[in-house]
């Protein structure tokens, strides 16, 4: 299994990279960490004419805390984000999801933006972006534009990035000070591919009433989905058993999860509710821990 021949480019700046994208259009692929792209090249599922490596564009490797959130550049490695106290402070759901990606050696090289731009329907970070309404900065020869998470993910390995464009950065809105977040998933083995995964981000007021509930899932569609019905039920409650149960019951209500080798559609719908419960229980436990401190 070896890739087909390609032309290799190693631009040193974003401008150079964008120029190259302009030159090749749909015949080029951006190479960052390569953890998803290179397997597809090795299998020859993708045979692009050119690879444009952004691994030498130092200006794209940053994590920036801004007043309204966290900005993660195209070359920020997942391991770096995972270890960052800034990420933990501003965006706890991202911190919670990162350790679920592959193994350490994948996260050492894989990038946050790369995972999002690849848009594998089982990628944990897509659920984070969806839950938090992340904003995507896309750059191309025609200039820059922004896309919301809902606009960004179009389907299995498909985003709104056009030929000649690339993802420059992703912006995660700042979470409230009292936010707690959890990511849970079921898979066939620890750190194997997820079957279904759920991210939960919860912000409560001083007496434990849910002010903000954000839930999203992977593995139940060709894109990450927001579990809006469950969110609505929980909003304004304290996550009492009855509300929690109802929220879990309706989690899969509008969904028709694709069955696969490891799990059929009915199993996925069922386990989705279980995962919503686990994720919410974990956020509650984290909140109580924080309060006790």
């Amino acid at each position: 299994m070896k890739p087909a021949k390609f032309e290799y480019h190693a631009p040193k700046t974003l401008d150079e990279a964008v120029n190259l994208l302009g030159r090749y259009g749909e015949d080029a692929r951006i190479l960052a960490g390569g953890q998803s792209l290179v397997p597809l090249l090795n299998f020859r599922i993708f045979q692009p004419q050119a690879l444009i490596s952004i691994n030498h564009c130092a200006e794209l490797a940053y994590l920036r805390v801004e007043p309204d959130g966290l900005v993660c550049g195209a070359l920020t490695r997942q391991a770096e984000a995972e270890q960052s106290a800034d990420v933990q402070d501003t965006c706890p759901l991202l911190s919670a999801a990162l350790p679920w990606i592959g193994g350490v050696s994948n996260r050492n090289r894989g990038t946050v933006c790369g995972s999002l731009a690849h848009a594998d329907p089982l990628a944990e970070l897509t659920a984070v972006a969806m839950a938090l309404d992340a904003r995507f900065s896309i750059v191309g020869t025609k200039g820059r534009r922004q896309a919301s998470a809902a606009e960004f993910f179009l389907g299995d390995l498909t985003t709104c990035i056009e030929p000649g464009e690339m993802l420059e950065a992703v912006h995660f809105p700042r979470s409230g000070k009292n936010a707690s977040a959890a990511f849970v998933e079921v898979g066939n083995r620890w750190h194997g591919f997820a079957v279904v995964g759920v991210g939960a981000h919860v912000e409560c007021d001083d007496v434990g009433v849910f002010q903000t509930v954000r839930l999203s899932a992977i593995g139940v569609g060709s894109t990450p989905v927001r579990l809006t019905e469950s969110e609505k039920i929980l909003q304004g409650t304290r996550g009492e058993t009855q509300a929690l149960q109802e929220a879990c019951n309706v989690a899969a209500v509008d969904l028709d999860p694709p069955g696969g080798f490891h799990a059929d559609s009915a199993y996925k719908s069922g386990v989705l509710g279980t995962l919503v419960e686990r994720a919410l229980n974990e956020t509650q436990a984290l909140r109580l821990q924080k309060e006790a401190r």
Partner: protein, 164 residues
């Protein structure tokens, strides 16, 4: 830089600089094995799942089957050959030897390089942490019991050596 046919690259592997004419599509794993003859790095699945080809890029583990040699020219690559000296095994290798932690040995180089990084960050791990650290390195012979034992033993012997 643009090229499709062969081009000259320079890589630093285990502290030594190598200059070779290669195609851009040459994977780091194949560069190590076939261009410079370091055959300790094994290729199992060639798509980043099995962990046999794990090396370190700038002291961090990476799958050498998922990187192109041309793309890691400015990094320091370390392979399993960096661990031992002709006289002495690395404490991790010694622990694997003593614990009978390998059978066919195909996965071992990747597991050793993963363990080296892991113990640098966590010199005193418990069995659960060890299992999680090795969860992306497949071994089809041992059932992992002796591997987990070996990593624990390596941690103990390395900490003891540190405190001497």
């Amino acid at each position: 830089m643009s090229s499709i046919e062969t081009t000259t690259v320079e890589l630093v592997v285990n502290g030594k600089r190598y200059k070779r004419q290669i195609e851009p599509r040459l994977l780091l794993a194949d560069f190590l094995r076939h261009e410079i003859g370091l055959k300790g790095t094994h290729i199992g699945c060639a798509h980043g799942v099995c962990g046999a080809c794990t090396v370190q890029i700038d002291d961090k583990t990476a799958r050498s089957c998922l990187h192109f040699a041309i793309d890691v020219q400015n990094s320091e690559i370390k392979t399993v050959e960096s661990l031992a000296t002709p006289e002495k095994l690395h404490p991790i290798q010694q622990a694997f030897h003593e614990s009978h932690a390998l059978q066919c040995g195909f996965c071992t180089p990747g597991i050793l390089m993963t363990t080296e990084e892991f113990l640098r960050g966590n010199p005193n791990p418990d069995d659960d942490e060890i299992r999680k650290a090795l969860c992306n390195n497949m071994c089809r012979c041992t059932g992992y019991v002796n591997i987990v034992k070996a990593v624990g033993l390596a941690a103990t012997s390395m900490s003891a050596a540190e405190n001497e």
